[in-house]
Symmetry: C2
Subunit: 213 residues, 2 copies
């Protein structure tokens, strides 16, 4: 059965930004205590032996809390740790192929950066889209051009799936993005590496609370 | 059924060194015409959408020639294109887990750089080991320290599986490595990017011919 998921506050966890494997689990747990509803592990510079260890540790920590763990890019790792889902970008394994590997019972997320991407999302295969970067980001080196809030709002009008806004999002931007149609916001550095990840998450969650379902 | 394989001349194909996707297929076909017996695709800087396309193109080219295609590191890609096998390093997905994902009918290769690695190779799971780097190499940025021919010969005494020598191997070194116990040699730049990959392969194959089974 597919893990139920809620996009309202989506933590993209980069272990290199929050103290490696151990700091990563602590950050995730604090963030969940503060209101994070779903966690993705993204470690583009890591080799896969370390990936598997980290993913398993995160899954063990999140499963009792009923928080789904999404694995970025590496479907082999997701299968090994039986993660709740995978997230692929436009340069990663295509969603049709990703679905073929993961089967019907895992969450599949897809990044989209423009109207053409959103129009091309295969219906019935993908569970949510991540749309961005809305703002400039320093945490993704190969990010697409920045969209901005106005263009993001236009993209939300054409969406047929739940959508999470991503890219340079911090406090003060959540309400605007939710009002523009985002079902949630994804953050990296607004939580990872913050002195108090729990409070950081709580403040972000509170800002989006009006829109939470 | 597992693809039969012969390690005598093992081409590790780095598409960035041989003209991208198209040059890569042409290089592989020329190299096979010259005597390459098995081909691995290794593209550590590539994103996976491109990986899948390249792997499928190579498989289509090699399958009619009965030459097995091995995928480096990315087991998800290997599963998608139904490659003959996968090759993992000491920092990649562990061989036990790799075997779990690929099942019993694919070739599984493992890199080993020292006696401890060779001693730890799980028996009955791995089909061959790649031992090196024997010589200094410029084509693998995260390579282990160089072993040298004498140490390589010692490692061959403790092996319990077919072994292919790898790392900076070119013409003039094949006979010595085979005499030291290698079941074959793996090359990158001795074929990839050479003006005539077929002749380059033929010369390497000829040097090892005394030892071929």
């Amino acid at each position: 059965m597919k893990h139920p998921f809620n996009l309202s506050l989506y933590l993209v966890l980069d272990p290199d930004l929050c103290g490696g494997e151990q700091g990563m689990v602590a950050t995730a747990l604090a963030a969940v205590a503060g209101g994070v509803s779903i966690v993705q592990l993204r470690a583009p510079r890591w080799k896969k032996r370390q990936w598997v260890v980290a993913a398993q540790a995160l899954k063990n920590a999140l499963e009792p809390l009923n928080i789904p763990l999404i694995i970025n890019d590496h479907i082999d790792v997701a299968l090994l740790v039986d993660a709740a889902g995978v997230h692929v970008g436009q340069q990663d394994i295509a969603p049709e192929m990703a679905r073929q590997l993961i089967g019907p019972n895992k969450i599949l997320g897809l990044s989209a950066s423009n109207a053409a991407h959103i129009h091309a999302v295969p219906q019935g295969l993908v569970d949510y889209i991540g749309v961005g970067p809305v703002y400039a980001t320093g945490t993704k080196l190969d990010a697409s051009p920045v969209i901005g809030l106005n263009e993001f709002a236009k993209l939300m009008q054409g969406k047929t799936l739940p959508a999470v806004a991503i890219g340079g999002i911090g406090l003060g931007q959540v309400a605007g993005l939710r009002a523009a149609g985002a079902d949630g916001v994804a953050v990296v550095s607004a939580i990872c590496g913050q002195a108090n990840p729990r409070q950081a998450a709580r403040a972000l969650r509170r800002e989006g609370a009006t829109y939470d379902r």
